[in-house]
Symmetry: C2
Subunit: 220 residues, 2 copies
């Protein structure tokens, strides 16, 4: 059966990039629709009436929203090249860490980009504590998912955003010296052929973050 | 093999009650350990070092935290009497709604209990919008899970907490008149034999909410 797979996203969003990575890891063909978040399309509003947010995956006309929910849907629908472990306990651990990243790391990462001075220092300390926690989970593994990248690695693309933000905004958060284990993981992640394909163009991303969050902009 | 299943919880928490419901629906024997949140046990801190929160399920010595993660773990470990659908799309929808309840309804429900006057009116309106959204998802179904209670019904036990809070604090949020569909669901839920067994004793719960959130208490 010919399948119709559409992804509504926006290029700078870590959340829509997650879905691209998963679809490409599975080799699923899809149509990507770039949304303008200040003028959302009627299709996006129709497919995600509850949150009116990207990403939305539409599979044969049926929409799924929320990036981690979409990742699980993709993994259960196209079963080859699994991104989640099959063992229930390992699967629970993967879900736990992905939720940790979304509930703890992402709000702090957003906060650090809009804060200044002492406040920013406090947020950086908070983020570094979280990164240490993630590092102690990673230990000597190549990826959170083991030998190849999986659910938590994909969710942890927020760390790639954080590294872009640290460069764009002149902060020092994740350095090789402070986080040797996580830094090694980061290098393997951005060097991964599929992941690399799904990263925003670096210069464009840097200047986007500078304009959006840099000190020259009056808006928070 | 003799299994060891322990649940660390606290009686008034909707999140630990969720786990009790799931374990009882499955007929899994477990030991319940009541935690004192103002003096957490070394065991809880050992089993959930990241969040230091209840509920934690410990299965043969291995801990799982975060209530929705625990529910999925239970459903995958003891496969009879499933609480999640098997179809990937229906499963994604269940996850979407459970996440909606935790991300949107729970923060608003907490907020309504600590707010006053005009601010409280605003939060009540917000909650009622969310309840309408849930009602439009429920439609004519007996439970969110279909003919019997499932993942979303268990997650939606927050609504039962909300009904207790509305009575304890003299608010009008979920009435039969305003929410006929959801009110019918609420009645079926609290009449369900397993669910009923896992509800906090009503009078104790009412006075707990009054003391914790009532206007006579100075703390927020």
């Amino acid at each position: 059966m010919a399948e119709e797979v559409k992804l509504f996203g926006t290029w700078a969003s870590v959340f829509s990039r997650r879905i691209e990575v998963a679809l490409k890891l599975k080799g699923v063909q899809f149509e990507y629709i770039e949304e303008n978040l200040s003028n959302k399309s009627p299709a996006l509003l129709k497919y995600n009436p509850v949150h009116k947010k990207i990403p939305v995956l539409v599979h044969n006309g049926k929409p799924v929203a929320e990036s981690l929910v979409i990742l699980e849907y993709i993994d259960e629908t196209w079963k080859h090249n699994p991104i989640l472990p099959t063992d229930p306990y390992e699967k629970a651990m993967a879900r736990f860490w992905a939720k940790y990243i979304d509930d703890k790391l992402w709000p702090a990462a957003r906060e650090v980009a809009v804060s200044k001075g002492e406040e920013q220092k406090g947020v950086i300390e908070e983020i570094q504590k979280q990164l240490k926690t993630l590092e102690s989970e990673l230990k000597e593994k190549k990826f959170f998912g083991g030998q190849s990248l999986g659910f938590v690695d994909i969710a942890a693309n927020i760390i790639v955003w954080l590294v872009v933000a640290q460069e764009a905004l002149g902060m020092e958060i994740l350095t090789e010296e402070k986080f040797p284990v996580l830094h090694g993981w980061y290098q393997r992640l951005v060097d991964d052929a599929v992941f690399k394909e799904c990263m925003p163009p670096r210069e464009q991303h840097l200047s986007f973050v500078k304009v959006r969050f840099g000190s020259s902009t009056p808006s928070k």
